[in-house]
């Protein structure tokens, strides 16, 4: 089965080709074809996962649990050889399951959600292409294949954000996402070049094996690690490149759920977890990641508390949660980060789909001030959304609690400043609970303030919600901490791929059981405070209230977009104008035109040689002979 791994990305690719070519003919069938393709991938992924899990111990250990499947030689020149290989191990197989599993649910959901859209076929073609690229990203056995997938998902994200391209604001959002990602990609590319320049290889295994020699040059490794991290900040929306993600909500809601919550934005986390051998020996880079992650988590959380667009709240929440994941990566707790990726994929997809269901119910309205009291009209959506909220807030025994708690434990025990980071992280966690329940209360409680009659969504939309809600409840049980007598299944599963870096840097926290339970209690208590604050603040919500002071500041997103505009965009435009006027028009055009004119003049002169007289030709012939002889004899003494 492992050798058939190429089937996994193949199905979405076929789906993409079929739905893409038949987008004007297939009608509603394209949705089912696309979903079927993902389902097929999911089945293959599941089989691969099971086989990987049941592999005999010794073989697993021997190969550090990873299998490279060689497909063909991608770049095959004398100086450079890069194979098109897929790598299957614990990490990629988990991601395969998450991508195809959640991808399938969201496809099903989209069939209903997009049913009235004229770009129905196109939408599913893009979605399939996205899944294909994402699978390429996680399956690639070297940085180049990963990068192909990386760019592919960026492209699909661009296409899907600007899906309703007739709206200028939406295409602007798409462009913003693409450009921000490109900035990050540049960092990634430079990192790859740096890596290749010294290692002459890009595949993970060779580089991992080369680490002992590379460790002699810590500044080099730090540079590579930071370059890759810049790539990750772009894709995973971290400071300073996070502003595209809230704008990306311009796309259809299933896209937000799949791409901008569950899968694509976690690509940065995946990439760093994949490069754990690199980061574990680059403590400076780790420190940077930790600080950026924390800052992002806090900043995004404050903004989320004041947003009134249901999807914007969720978007900032995603940024904030990604911040948590990066904090985990920053302290070397790769398993915890992956754990949070998984649980976050469950409950954030659930929340987004729930919000989609709400938006669907109120005829495309996204402003929560015009909602309220929806509890009455849509029971299933309400219950599932509520489950999502308590999961993200970190109330046991739902999934969010376990993963977030694990991250916080690692941070608490990390170094001397760990406790400060922990306190700040807890602050962000409290805000998480606060803004999620604020959203819940404003949207579902009180009385309905909008127009029309909200209605529950069709079964095709609620079924995925129920499945995801169930997953959000039980998802945490794959990583029950040992203090509860559980066996951390995920940790055991992922252990082989982290062996090398664990040998370099231990990231297993050591806390007495008493302290651990105490910390958990504090965490739950803080979450409850957040919920209570939301309850008192928004039990009776008045939409006319305007925000003031610091809240206004947060509502306007800390004016970061405006700051970027002033500091980067405007000066860049100025420079471009200047370059266009001076260098382009006068300089380059002048030179090019000058050369062109020179050649034209030369042409008219040389043409005169062509007099048409044979006698003259022979004369030139003789002169040519003399010239060639003279040059040859003069330059090489014979």
């Amino acid at each position: 089965m492992l050798n058939l791994v190429w089937l996994v990305p193949l199905f979405p690719l076929i789906g993409f080709i079929i739905t893409g070519l038949g987008r004007n003919h297939l009608g509603k069938a394209s949705g089912w074809i696309a979903s079927l393709a993902i389902l097929a991938s999911f089945v293959v992924s599941a089989l691969i996962f099971i086989e990987l899990k049941t592999l005999p111990e010794d073989i697993a250990e021997h190969t550090t649990g990873s299998h490279v499947v060689h497909l063909f030689n991608f770049i095959n020149t004398h100086a450079m050889q890069i194979a098109f290989d897929f790598q299957i191990d614990a990490l990629s197989s988990i991601f395969l399951l998450v991508i195809t599993g959640i991808g399938f649910l969201i496809h099903i959901y989209s069939i209903s959600y997009m049913s009235h859209d004229e770009g129905f076929g196109k939408f599913f073609a893009y979605l399939n292409l996205f899944v294909f690229s994402m699978l390429l990203l996680v399956l690639g056995a070297n940085y180049l294949i990963l990068f192909i997938g990386w760019e592919g998902v960026g492209l699909c994200s661009y296409l899907l954000i600007g899906f309703w391209y007739k709206n200028i604001a939406y295409t602007d959002a798409a462009k913003k996402a693409f450009i921000m990602n490109r900035i990050g990609d540049l960092g990634f590319l430079i990192g790859m070049f740096l890596l290749y320049s010294k290692c002459n290889a890009l595949d993970f295994k060779s580089i991992e094996n080369m680490m002992p020699t590379l460790m002699n040059d810590p500044s080099y490794i730090t540079a590579v690690a930071l370059c890759f991290f810049i790539g990750a900040t772009g894709k995973s929306a971290q400071i300073p490149l996070f502003t595209w993600l809230p704008d990306a909500m311009a796309g259809p809601t299933p896209v937000s759920a799949l791409i901008h919550a569950a899968t694509m934005v976690t690509a940065g986390v995946y990439m760093i977890a994949r490069s754990n051998f690199l980061y574990s020996v680059a403590p400076i880079a780790q420190q940077v990641i930790l600080i950026i992650g924390l800052a992002t988590a806090l900043l995004a959380a404050t903004i989320a508390t004041q947003q009134n667009d249901i999807k914007k709240v969720l978007a900032y929440s995603t940024v904030s949660q990604l911040g948590f994941m990066f904090m985990a990566l920053g302290v070397g707790a790769y398993t915890a980060a992956i754990f949070h990726v998984i649980t976050h994929a469950f409950f954030k997809a659930l929340l987004f789909l729930g919000s989609g269901s709400v938006i669907h119910a109120v005829d495309g309205e996204q402003d929560i001030r015009n909602m309220g009291g929806l509890k009455k009209y849509m029971k299933i959506t309400y219950i599932t959304f509520f489950i999502g909220c308590i999961a993200i807030a970190g109330i046991p025994p739902l999934s969010g609690f376990f993963s977030k708690d694990e991250i916080m434990m690692h941070i608490f025990t990390h170094g001397t400043n760990g406790k400060i980071f922990w306190i700040l992280g807890m602050l962000a966690a409290m805000m998480t609970a606060y803004y999620m329940f604020r959203l819940l209360f404003i949207t579902f409680h009180g009385t309905y303030r909008g127009k029309g009659h909200p209605h529950e969504s069709p079964a095709l939309m609620t079924m995925p919600l129920i499945v995801l809600a169930a997953l959000s409840i039980v998802g945490g049980f794959i990583g029950i901490p040992e203090v509860f007598g559980g066996h951390h299944a995920l940790n055991a599963f992922l252990e082989p791929i982290l062996l090398k870096s664990q040998a370099l840097q231990t990231s297993i926290y050591e806390l007495s059981h008493q302290n651990e339970i105490l910390l958990m209690g504090v965490a739950v208590f803080i979450a409850c405070i957040g919920i209570t604050m939301a309850w008192f603040g928004f039990k009776k919500y008045n939409a006319a209230d305007t925000t003031k002071g610091i809240a206004k500041f947060a509502e306007d997103k800390w004016y970061i977009d405006e700051l970027y505009d002033k500091v980067i965009v405007k000066p860049l435009f100025g420079i471009s104008k200047w370059i266009e006027k001076i260098i382009e028009k006068a300089g380059i055009d002048g030179i090019v035109n000058g050369v062109g004119r020179l050649i034209q003049v030369g042409s008219t002169k040389i043409r005169l040689l062509q007099s048409g007289l044979v006698g003259f030709y022979l004369f030139m012939f003789v002169l040519g002979i003399i010239l060639l002889f003279a040059l040859q004899m003069w330059l090489v003494k014979f």
Binding site: G596, I606, R607, V614, Y617, F621, F629, F638
Partner: protein
């Protein structure tokens, strides 16, 4: 070897065809049959020689490389005849004789590909040249055609004189015509032991070859001859004949004179520089597409000379094979469009894309290949010959210069594309292309594109 015999015999067959077959169609079909038979025979020859090189009469050495080249050049000639056979027949009354002469030229081509004796080289070059003098003047009513023929003949006679003188001097120094003989090889083993008679002889041979491939400063005949000749024969002279001279060139200068490359590399380097400048710069000025293609063929010869320049590099051998095929097919493709037009000036092509999208497209592919744009065979052709020079490591600056010149060439090639696609006009046709023509042209373009992706196909 069989190909040589068959091409000679088929020339005679064509003469008789002219006598007995009354219909022009039948004559054309006989010619096409002949070239297909020639192609088959050369493939059989290739299979016979693919294992081991074989020497005939001490005059010819046929090995894998030469027999493979024979296949390629025969295929190019087949493409030429398939596309142009109607136009050839339309040149004048003696259509069977034109085809006969073309087959005689092919005989010369095979001789040049596999000679191992200077006598055969001389005979090959003459068999190649004399029919060309005739073909150039075959449009007897046209004074330009007459002029072309006479000019070509006079200049060609001059260069033949130089060729013979060069051979005589080399014979004087070595005492042998056989380039595989001990005496001959011994003479050119190292520069210090080489006689100065050989030095002059080599340079004279170089100049004579340079004349045949229209390298500057011996190129002056080219524009007049290519422009004056009937358009049906120009592509033949500019492609198949020229590239086979290149193969003869590379055979002698790498195989025999490779060890004494210091004695002639400067001369050829200056030839390359002059050829690239004159070919490219003068082409910019031209108003007639046919004349532009004549200069383009000079410029392309400058690139092919790189393969001679890069001594003993396998890349050069590969490069000249690829360049031969790609350049031939591309030029044939462009001429096939030119001949369909009433007006050969750039303005005559205005608006062709609207009127004849297939012609415009195939011409565009061919022109892009001539520029050397990636994804067309021309890119790899240029890449191989230039990297052969880089690999050799001497005079890298010429490569930089060549790339600059290739940039200039983009100007006049793209001008055609601009005329066809971005200008409005009548694009008056001389003859309307048939479906058969279009199919062939598309096939031709497809081969060029295919070679742009898989250049190794021509390496055998």
């Amino acid at each position: 070897m069989n190909a040589i015999v068959l091409s000679g015999i088929w020339g005679v067959v064509m003469m008789f065809a002219g006598l007995f077959l009354k219909s022009s169609k039948q004559i054309q079909w006989t010619a096409l049959l002949g070239i297909i038979a020639l192609l088959v025979v050369s493939i059989l020859d290739y299979q016979a020689h693919s294992v081991q090189a074989q020497t005939y009469f001490g005059m010819m050495t046929i090995d894998v490389y030469t027999s493979w080249f024979s296949i390629l050049i025969t295929a190019c000639c087949a493409m030429y005849l398939l596309i142009f056979h109607k136009d050839i027949a339309a040149v004048g009354k003696n259509e069977a004789e034109y085809f006969a002469l073309i087959f005689f030229v092919m005989c010369g081509v095979y001789l040049l590909a596999s000679y191992s004796n200077l006598l055969i080289l001389f005979l090959g070059i003459e068999i190649l040249s004399i029919p060309q003098y005739i073909l150039a003047g075959s449009d007897k009513e046209n004074i330009k055609s007459n002029e072309a023929s006479l000019k070509y003949f006079l200049m060609g006679a001059f260069s033949t004189g130089l060729l013979l003188m060069g051979m005589t001097l080399i014979y004087g120094a070595t005492g042998s015509f056989d380039i595989t003989s001990e005496k001959f090889v011994g003479q050119f083993e190292q520069l210090s032991s080489m006689s100065s008679l050989s030095f002059v002889g080599i340079l004279l041979l170089l100049i004579s070859f340079g004349f045949k491939v229209s390298a500057a400063p011996l190129h002056l005949w080219t524009p007049d001859v290519y422009d004056g000749s009937p358009t049906a024969f120009t592509p033949f002279m500019a492609t198949i004949v020229k590239v086979s001279v290149f193969v003869a060139f590379i055979r002698l200068f790498h195989f025999s004179f490779g060890n004494v490359s210091d004695a002639w590399q400067i001369a050829i380097a200056s030839m390359i520089v002059l050829t690239l400048i004159i070919g490219n710069v003068t082409a910019v000025y031209q108003q007639s597409l046919k004349r532009m293609m004549a200069y383009s063929s000079i410029a392309q010869a400058g690139f092919m000379l790189f393969s001679i320049f890069a001594v003993n590099s396998t890349l050069a051998y590969k490069g000249i094979l690829l360049y031969s095929v790609v350049y031939s097919l591309a030029s044939i493709g462009v001429f096939a469009v030119i001949i369909k037009m009433k007006d050969y000036t750039y303005d005559g092509f205005n608006g062709l894309a609207k009127k004849q999208p297939v012609l415009a497209f195939t011409a565009t592919v061919c022109l892009l290949s001539l520029v050397g744009i990636p994804l067309t065979g021309g890119f790899f052709a240029k890449y191989f010959v230039l990297s052969a020079v880089v690999e050799q490591g001497k005079y890298i600056w010429i490569v930089v210069f060549a790339v600059l010149m290739a940039a200039i060439s983009a100007y006049y090639y793209f001008r055609v594309i601009r005329s066809m696609y971005f200008k409005t006009g009548e694009a008056a046709m001389h003859t309307e292309p048939t479906t058969w023509d279009k199919t062939l042209l598309i096939l031709n373009a497809m081969i060029i594109l295919l070679l742009g992706v898989l250049p190794s196909l021509v390496f055998g």
